[in-house]
Amino acid sequence: MMRRKNIVVLIIVSVMVSSAFAVYYLKSSHTIPTGKYAAEKRLPKIRPDYFDTVIPVNIAPLNFLIEEEGEHYYVRIYSSKGEDIYVSAKDGKIKIPMNQWKRLLELNRGNELYFDVYIKRGDGEFIKFDSIINLISDEEIDKYLVYRLIKPLYNRWVDISIHQRNLEDYDESLIFSNKSINGGCVNCHTFLKNSGENALMHIRSAPKPTMYLIRGSSVRSIFSQTPFSSASMAYSSWHPDGRYIAFSVNKVQQFFHTSRDENRDVVDNDSAIGIYDTETNTIMTPRGLSQPDILETYPCWSPDGNYLYYCSSPILWSDRNIVPPENYENVKYSLMRISFNRENGNVGEPESILSSEQTNMSIVHPKISPDGRFLLFCMANYGCFSIYQPSSDLYMMDLKTLEYERLAINSDKSDSYHSWSSNSKWIVFSSKRLGDIFARPFLSYINYDGKACKPILLPQEDPEFYDSFIKTYNVPELINVPINVKKSDFERAIGSPENISGIKQITKASPVTGKDPLWKQFR
């Protein structure tokens, strides 16, 4: 009897304590100070920097950290329509409820979004800061972002993985890890028309240079080593018809500086461009894209498929095996294009779009907006590897006028690898502005005239996520249909690789066979 009584008392006490906690929680999370508060005539310090910009209507909640002295923090989020959102936190970490956020943004496409930040100080006084104002874009950003996560790599790669992040929430899934191929280097991934339905991933080194060709939910593994190149297919671009993939083969050489801020440097001792035909599993090696004394790289098809844009530079060294080669700091790439006949696969003559002589800088990573209006590219002091160049900035070219300008969103650190959303309204790019040696993905809205709005850092559920994250975001690519290949299918593909069926020579040179075939011998 006594025991039963004790249990009843225990239950009652537990219920009361839980209720007290619940009431406290509800009170603290939904109460914004009404009545007296001192107005602080400035914006609050928050991190990440989420103000005065345009945000995608379908982006995940922009959780942030308030970096002001205080005992308790309150935020009211509102726009012209819909219910206000109230969030509070003792530690300043503002985590916005997902569903309310989505409703609010959806109702307010094209409207301003306000964050009112209140702080309760130690003396009990409340302070309200000026409202943080952002504009909700009417245009959506592609739902997924695919990127490679790596630590700052030098000579060894043990943990390289490609991930797919849902931008509408915080879900991140692993697409592929190099651990399943015993530590090979997993590199570039490119998509046909921003869709994970058709994708290409390339694997350098172990066990052999390979590419994964994804079509729908199936994947093929193809050894990309041919007499054209002992190296793997590196930077690639899908022809809009989905049949051809232009790719570069690069004799990539890494070397190190003894006292520069960025230790690492990369030079292509040689490079060329080929075109892979996915239907016939063959390679074409057009002469104009693989000239003996020219470095050709970074292919990018125009959205109409009639031109292939790329970067090129004369080779300034006689010995292509020395690392680093002589004059490597004088290598400056120009922006070129070449016409393409989709019927027979023939190409025209190279034509210069923007010469390095004009810019006195090196142009790399040309990316054309899917609507064909703009060309976004990087320029750095020299070379082909912009991620290691603090001088690398993003530039936008209007393809109608061929005029270009440096975007205002650049920083004093490397701003490089970028890609477009399928509606040509958003770009994502890697920047080292917040991490020095760690690149982070930033999203930026592109206006009708090609101007980029202040970029926002890819939001994370924990606003302090990046503070201790020692991996770098590489090759961010926006897609609207996710990659839907199971890891076990990748595994099966590894187990049954195919070889390239043949090479269609458009050059007049004869193929050279040997132990270490190189394209330079071939052409």
Binding site: N155, R156, T258, D261, L434, I437, D467
Partner: protein, 626 residues
């Protein structure tokens, strides 16, 4: 009565056994040196917070790996580390005892302690087996749970079996497989449900495959390699050590089962005559049991002693200690410990550590040739290697040397290689924080510091640094950082590091005594005496009271070879050096026909001087030229 006595005695024996086990782990194995091993020994890192935890929930066995990673951090406190290992071993032994009983039991009181010996052998290898051992423990525990339902209806047993193996497979990876085998054996031998037993064993493989592909979406390769301690498989001894406890327990279950099948058959045949015989032989049985107990106790004690004597990896123990001392800058301990290593043991890192210790004890140019030497060990550059299995600690230790000598970028390079290969070890993260701070990359420095603040052991130190950084006082009172900032290499070279060029550049630009001594050591290694002579005035600049012994030895050789006098800036070559050179010259004369014999003689007579090294150098040069 005698049973109670034996029971008591076995409890006392077991208690003594585990107390001995604890002290063995504490003093002989010493978990602390595994903690400080810079990632050698498959030692896991652990950080507070959900971000780190999330890494463990996406693969089978992750949760136990997470717990193991947490517990492993406590190796930092050796007594706690030893306690953890001992407690886990004790529980495994108790569960082994229960396993024996569940399979019919045998008349042995101490057999279960064999599990502890297998665990001991594993830890003697200096690889961190905690995760494997924990997984073993949890599978034995779940087998106990299975025994609770062993008398239920078949259908309930099967359902329960699939639930616990799936759960176990997710939380403890390989344990799901191990548990399936135990349950299978139990069904076959004890419950005589052969079909169910075989079903368990077969489905243990197929159901894992299904779980992998359909639910966990992991690669089959990824998943199955976790069933076994795969990462040790390429090295025989550690692999055997990892498999030992698992195989032992399976064989034990099998053995007990078969033994009981045989015993029961025999008992059925002789049941009547056995009863009569038993009555008559109670007193004989008492003595027999005591005697058997004594034999068992002796056997276990011998096995324990044998395992301690013959499976202990002494060399690894010493190397880990050396690295620990080097990391902690306990230079005297290094010079003391190196005395216990065979002279012939050829390890670059060992030599590198000795040179570091000698430099920081102001003895590098005095007595470096009292120890085995190799020019490659001065500033090893093995981080250029792409081999991920390369001995890792050298990356962090060499990085520290690069840092202290002022070649910051190479320190950074080396540490990033270590970071990639072994992970975010506190020492690596801490060094990368310092390097980025010195380079003025404050964002990166903060990121490393924030990560370090999540470390269980170093978190508070990191928070202290953060406070200092916020106040702007970090580095102000820190002599090492101030020194590095003043001596660091400013000249940019973009080709492979040439030690001589870089060291020369370092001493030209600043007051860098370490670079100076390492440059002189480099000239000693390469017998470039003229260059030592050219730098003689720097011994005054760096306030050396006398010319270091090896420098004297080099100069006297040089003067005798060239016949030229060297301006020693008012210094003199000591009488002892002159005398030793006399002996050296005599040996060279005496053994001009047999250089190798001469080298042996020089080593014997002038062992701790530069002369034997020089003799050897001359021989090598002669061979090379031929």
């Amino acid at each position: 009565m005698h049973l109670t006595f034996l029971k008591k005695t076995s409890v006392i024996y077991s208690a003594v056994f585990f107390i001995t086990f604890y002290f063995y782990v504490l003093f002989r194995i010493n978990p602390q040196i595994i903690y400080h091993g810079n990632g050698v020994a498959a030692f896991p890192v652990f950080f507070k917070g959900m971000i780190f935890f999330k890494n463990f929930i996406n693969y089978p066995g992750g949760l136990i790996d997470y717990i193991s990673a947490f517990l492993s951090q406590l190796y930092y406190f050796p007594s706690v580390g030893a306690f953890i290992i001992t407690t886990i071993t004790l529980v495994i032994c108790l569960l082994t005892n229960s396993l024996i009983k569940s399979f019919g039991g045998i008349s042995s009181r101490l057999l279960f302690l064999l599990s502890a010996i297998f665990v001991l052998i594993a830890f003697n290898q200096y690889l961190n087996y905690l995760s494997i051992i924990l997984k073993l423990l949890i599978s034995l525990l779940f087998f106990r749970f299975y025994l609770f339902v062993s008398h239920s209806k078949i259908i309930y047993r099967i359902i329960f079996y699939f639930i616990i193996t799936s759960f176990l497979y997710y939380t403890a990876g390989s344990s799901g497989f191990f548990l399936a085998l135990l349950c299978g054996l139990y069904e076959v031998f004890i419950l005589r449900k052969h079909i169910i037993g075989l079903l368990y064993i077969i489905t243990s493989i197929t159901s894992l495959y299904y779980l992998d592909l359909s639910i966990l979406n992991v690669m089959v390769f990824d998943s199955y390699q976790r069933i076994i301690p795969y990462y040790f498989l390429n090295i025989l001894a550690p692999a055997a050590a990892a498999w030992g406890p698992l195989v032992f327990l399976l064989l034990l279950a099998l053995f007990v089962s078969i033994f009981n099948v045989y015993r029961n058959k025999k008992a059925a045949v002789n049941s009547e005559s056995e009863k009569t015989r038993k009555k008559n032989s109670i007193s004989k049985s008492k003595n027999k049991e005591r005697l058997r107990f004594l034999y068992e106790a002796l056997l276990i004690s011998f096995l324990f002693a044998g395992a301690a004597l013959f499976t202990f990896n002494k060399l690894e123990n010493t190397m880990l200690k050396m690295n620990y001392y080097s990391n902690e800058e306990k230079w005297d301990n290094i010079l003391e410990e190196v005395e216990h290593i065979p002279y012939e043991y050829n390890d670059l890192l060992l030599k590198h550590n000795v040179n570091r210790a000698l430099f920081f004890k102001n003895r590098l140019l005095e007595s470096m040739f009292s120890y085995p030497q190799d020019v490659e060990s001065l500033l090893t550059l093995n981080f250029y290697s792409q081999d991920p299995t390369m001995y890792v600690p050298e990356l962090t230790i060499v990085a520290d040397t690069f840092f202290k000598i002022g070649i910051i970028n190479y320190a950074e390079h080396s540490l990033h290689e270590a970071l990639e290969v072994v992970g975010e070890y506190p020492k690596i993260v801490h060094q990368l924080f310092l390097i980025n701070f010195v380079k003025g990359k404050y964002n990166a420095a903060n990121i490393f510091l924030n990560l370090l603040s999540k470390d269980l052991i170093n978190g508070n130190k990191a928070k202290e640094y953060k406070n200092q950084l916020e106040k702007g006082s970090f580095g102000q009172g820190n002599k090492i950082i101030q020194n590095i900032q003043s001596i660091k290499l400013e000249e940019d070279y973009d080709s492979t590091l040439n030690i001589e060029t870089v060291l020369k550049n370092l001493i030209e630009k600043s007051n860098n005594r370490m670079a100076f001594e390492y440059l002189m050591a480099y000239y000693l290694y390469t017998a470039q005496f003229d260059k030592i002579a050219q730098n003689i005035k720097l011994f005054n600049f760096y306030n050396y009271p006398n010319l270091p012994r090896h420098i004297e030895e080099a100069l006297i050789i040089h003067m005798n070879i060239t016949g030229k006098r060297i301006d020693l800036n008012g210094r003199k070559i000591s009488r002892e050096t002159n005398q030793r050179f006399g002996l050296y010259a005599q040996i060279m004369n005496d053994y001009s026909e047999d250089a190798f014999k001469g080298l042996r003689q020089a080593t014997m007579v002038l062992g701790d001087s530069y002369f034997p090294y020089h003799y050897n150098y001359l021989i090598r040069e002669k061979i090379r030229k031929k």
